[in-house]
Symmetry: C2
Subunit: 338 residues, 2 copies
């Protein structure tokens, strides 16, 4: 081995007096190996600071040590949190994270992703909502021999490779909390139809209302598309109702900001005239005025768990993982002031 060069498996083999195949066995923790041999080789590996070449392994194994993050930008904060969570798990391993933003409205999306996985010979992929809800896509990835982990807010299937938060429970608790504080007219801004996350939050809202003995009123409910503008429109509708709500639960923070905006337009003050609760705890929640009470789900920890499922299938759970979301209480929601 020339000085300054990275050592190869051959260098290790020569120095420890065994064949390179034996070194390979040590690296791959093959069980049929003499303990003494293993230790000798390991000491040489440590001495040379040998690290196997991932490209060569990828070629021989027909599998790259790359895990892919595929998403259609749910929101920047979340995507970044996920990236950090994945890195928490794969830092100091041979794995690397490759990202692939996609457009879920493109007709060629599945085909594009298939090509991507095939070309990069991905080890595994992680799907983020909302495309994690696309079963066809998940199956296509699996067919390519790629492990799939889906992040979501609900039970998507019985797949062990699911990491989800219990949105429904969290929303239910938030609504019950509003009721405890004396709110009787509680408005609801739903997320877009066809999104499981939105559906779960709706169910949670219904549950919470039921727990509190309140009846949801369609006149103070609206559906948005998770964007600010749709929240604004929803707020305008709800607040102009004959009997307007004293509190509004919005299915995400961005729409909650829109609701807040609508309240301001009408000259209402928040939280005195209207309590607002959002969902996601994105950066915006803490930085608008008043700071938004919202539901936070532990994205980073969830992503770290998901990455573990991908890269350490033997140790990481063999069943779906569920995480608890919790309510972050800020200034935008207070007790009911008649």
């Amino acid at each position: 081995m020339a000085k300054g060069q990275k050592p190869t498996i051959n260098d290790v083999a020569r120095l420890s007096g065994v064949s390179k195949k034996t070194v390979s066995r040590v690296i791959n923790k093959s069980p049929l190996l003499n303990q003494a041999t293993r230790e000798k080789v390991e000491s040489v590996i440590a001495e040379l600071e040998y690290v196997p070449n991932p490209q060569a392994r990828a070629l021989a194994l027909r599998r790259n040590f790359l895990i892919g993050l595929i998403h259609d930008n749910p929101n920047a904060q979340m995507v970044l949190g996920v990236q950090e969570g994945i890195l928490d798990t794969i830092r100091n391993t041979e794995f690397a994270l490759v990202v692939r933003p996609v457009d879920r409205h493109s007709p060629s999306m599945v085909e594009d992703i298939r090509g991507f996985i095939e070309q990069q010979r991905l080890y595994g992929v992680m799907l983020l909502p909302p495309i994690s809800e696309n079963d066809e896509l998940a199956q296509a990835c699996r067919d390519l021999g790629c492990t799939v982990v889906r992040m979501g807010s609900a039970r998507l299937d019985d797949d062990a490779h699911l990491v989800a938060s219990n949105d429904r429970q969290a929303v239910s608790d938030a609504v019950a909390w509003l009721a405890e504080m004396g709110h009787k007219r509680i408005g609801f801004v739903a997320g877009p139809e066809g999104f499981l996350s939105a559906r779960e939050r709706e169910l949670g809202f219904a549950e919470g209302m039921a727990r509190a003995g309140l009846k949801p009123d369609a006149k103070i409910a609206a559906r948005g598309n998770y964007r600010f503008e749709s929240g604004l429109a929803a707020g305008q509708k709800l607040l102009s109702a004959k009997s307007p709500p004293s509190a509004i639960f919005s299915s995400n923070d961005e729409m909650a900001a829109g609701v807040l905006h609508a309240a301001r337009e009408r000259g209402m003050s928040v939280p005195e005239d209207l309590s607002i609760i959002g969902f996601d705890d994105t950066a915006i929640a803490a930085h608008i005025w008043p700071p938004l009470t919202t539901v936070r789900w532990p994205i980073r920890a969830m992503a770290a768990t998901a990455a573990a499922k991908l890269t350490r299938p033997e140790t990481a759970a063999s069943e779906p993982s569920f995480f608890l979301s919790d309510l972050v209480r800020r200034a935008s929601a207070i007790e009911y002031l008649p």
Copy 2:
């Protein structure tokens, strides 16, 4: 070639009746090749839909077709914009994007990154502010045979691999615009010391004031660290000055949100009593109330250009690229109302 398998270079060679080396020449656009041979091989490639195996190429070339994005989370919006911009360029090429969030305060940062580049044999890396300002890091990457592109807000060096926005000009224009609208007392919230971006914005502010014939007043200037809380503190200081400003320029949006918060605390209304301008046009800018007038830099386009510099060094510019930032006028800044 078995059915259903991906074709290899050998299949192409056999079908076109040449050696695999010749096919390799076609793929790599070698000039010493008979035109007829080239066309024949190309038609076979097209027919088989042959795509070279990146892993094998990586092994043979000792260079992976991966470009690394290294950043210490400047802000989520920006990081995501950059990722999208890079993808705009490398989609449908053999390149892939791998990301690596780092902690710039870690003493082992440079060492970590070096290990990462070496292990993954990165083709090139892209550095985002603020670590793009770290010359030692950039040099370490280059020493590893890796092309480096730095994104930034100022001329970092004479390197052709720089993509920067003209923050200084943009801030100067914004301040001049405030002056035109009748503001005479313009406050300034600076970014953290030691950041080039912060420095540029300071210079821009000074320039703008000079253009308008105004003298900066240290009593209505403060330094923050780009975080919300520091903006809040800065706002409190500026607004409690004996002769408070009628407009404040903040070096980023998050601090501007803090300033806004401070104004509210004092019962002031924005923009009637105070105009505020931020910088970056992050998601928060559009979603706070009132929506923030801010400076937007074309992150996605810049990142796409940067990626082109990395992956197509021959066609992409051989000199630094500069982009124009522009002022996004929203409701938070209006003319001076005495």
